[in-house]
């Protein structure tokens, strides 16, 4: 989002999208690719939190896991089961990548729910890298594993012959829309949720309805906690579905 200048601040002001402005952490000036911004900071915090949970937390490798280790084992087992159920046993080779995606999105989403925190996943630039990363990886993998047979994904064998070119065209379009919807779904959900909280916070400026607005913020915050987890889950499970297409393009 580009920086907007708010000249007059009179009465009720809504700037629900100001929270998504990427700012340099030190000083002011232009944001280059190497500038350390608030997005960099919160992504780094997420990575450090994951590191603390998964590397430091499981260092003792006790047979009877402690609190931190059981949380790590729970998450590992959850994603492991998801990959196995959706993508099949062959999909487990790519389990580390999917676990990494899941943990990063989950931690960034939840850390972003801390008041005044910045949520990197609310930016399409961040989610598009992950979405297109999955898309390119899956497409390359499909061609490497299946060769030209991967194109069978678009050529429906069980459809009537007349309809097959039409279906192939539709399938082709829907295949290329995948990374777009994959990334925009995550960014849109997170951005919309945070913007709604800000809009209700704007209503708190009116004394008459401010108690109602605070109750509404609390309720929506609860919903956002749910959405943060569900969106991480959805992103991961769709990655598994796409991976299954690359592993078994026939069906």
């Amino acid at each position: 989002m580009e920086e907007t200048v708010h000249a007059e601040e009179t009465g009720l002001t809504f700037h629900p999208l100001d929270q998504f402005i990427v700012q340099p952490l030190f000083g002011t000036g232009e944001v280059h690719w190497y500038t350390i911004t608030n997005a960099t900071l919160w992504m780094a915090i997420a990575v450090l939190a994951i590191f603390a949970l998964f590397v430091l937390g499981t260092q003792r490798r006790s047979i009877v896991p402690g609190r931190v280790q059981s949380v790590a084992e729970l998450m590992h087992g959850f994603v492991h089961k998801m990959v196995e159920d959706v993508a099949g046993r062959e999909g487990l080779r790519y389990f580390p990548y999917i676990l990494t995606l899941f943990l990063f999105i989950l931690f960034v989403n939840y850390l972003g729910l801390i008041p005044t925190a910045f949520t990197p996943t609310s930016h399409i630039a961040v989610t598009a890298v992950m979405g297109f990363g999955v898309f390119i990886a899956v497409t390359v993998l499909g061609f490497v594993l299946n060769g030209a047979a991967f194109l069978g994904l678009f050529w429906m064998k069980d459809a009537p012959l007349v309809l097959r070119p039409v279906i192939a065209l539709i399938e082709l379009i829907s295949y290329f829309v995948r990374p777009v919807s994959h990334s925009i779904r995550l960014a849109g959900n997170i951005m919309a949720g945070h913007a709604v909280i800000k809009v209700f916070a704007g209503f708190a400026g009116i004394a008459l309805i401010s108690p109602l607005s605070i109750v509404a913020i609390t309720a929506i915050y609860g919903l956002e906690v749910l959405v943060a987890g569900i969106q991480a889950y959805v992103f991961t499970i769709l990655t598994c579905v796409y991976l299954k297409d690359a592993l078994h393009p026939g069906h």
């Binding site: 989002m1 999208l17 998801m82 159920d85 959706v86 919807s181 925009i184 779904r185 849109g188 959900n189 951005m191 919309a192 569900i230 889950y233 959805v234 499970i237 769709l238 579905v241």
Partner: protein
């Protein structure tokens, strides 16, 4: 009141795009409602289908998010 016709068109367009959110709400409600109807008929099979439920919800919801995105683009980017 001041402003020009292009601004007005932007806001009207953004409002029209918000209809898409309502349509997505209908879709998401259909998915969840039908899942619940099926799950109550055969509760033992419900647990194995929650992943399908979330995939269906995600696809239905994505189009609503697209509508929301169009509204945002009209409001802030055009």
């Amino acid at each position: 009141m001041e402003g020009n016709v292009a601004d007005m068109g932007q806001f009207i367009g953004a409002g029209l795009a918000a209809i898409g959110s309502g349509a997505a709400a209908i879709g998401v409600g259909h998915v969840a409602g039908n899942f619940l109807a099926g799950a109550l008929r055969n509760p033992s099979a419900a647990a194995s289908q929650t992943a399908t439920l979330f995939i269906g919800l995600a696809f239905a919801e994505a189009l609503g998010i697209f509508a929301f995105l169009v509204a945002l683009l009209l409001m802030f980017a055009v």
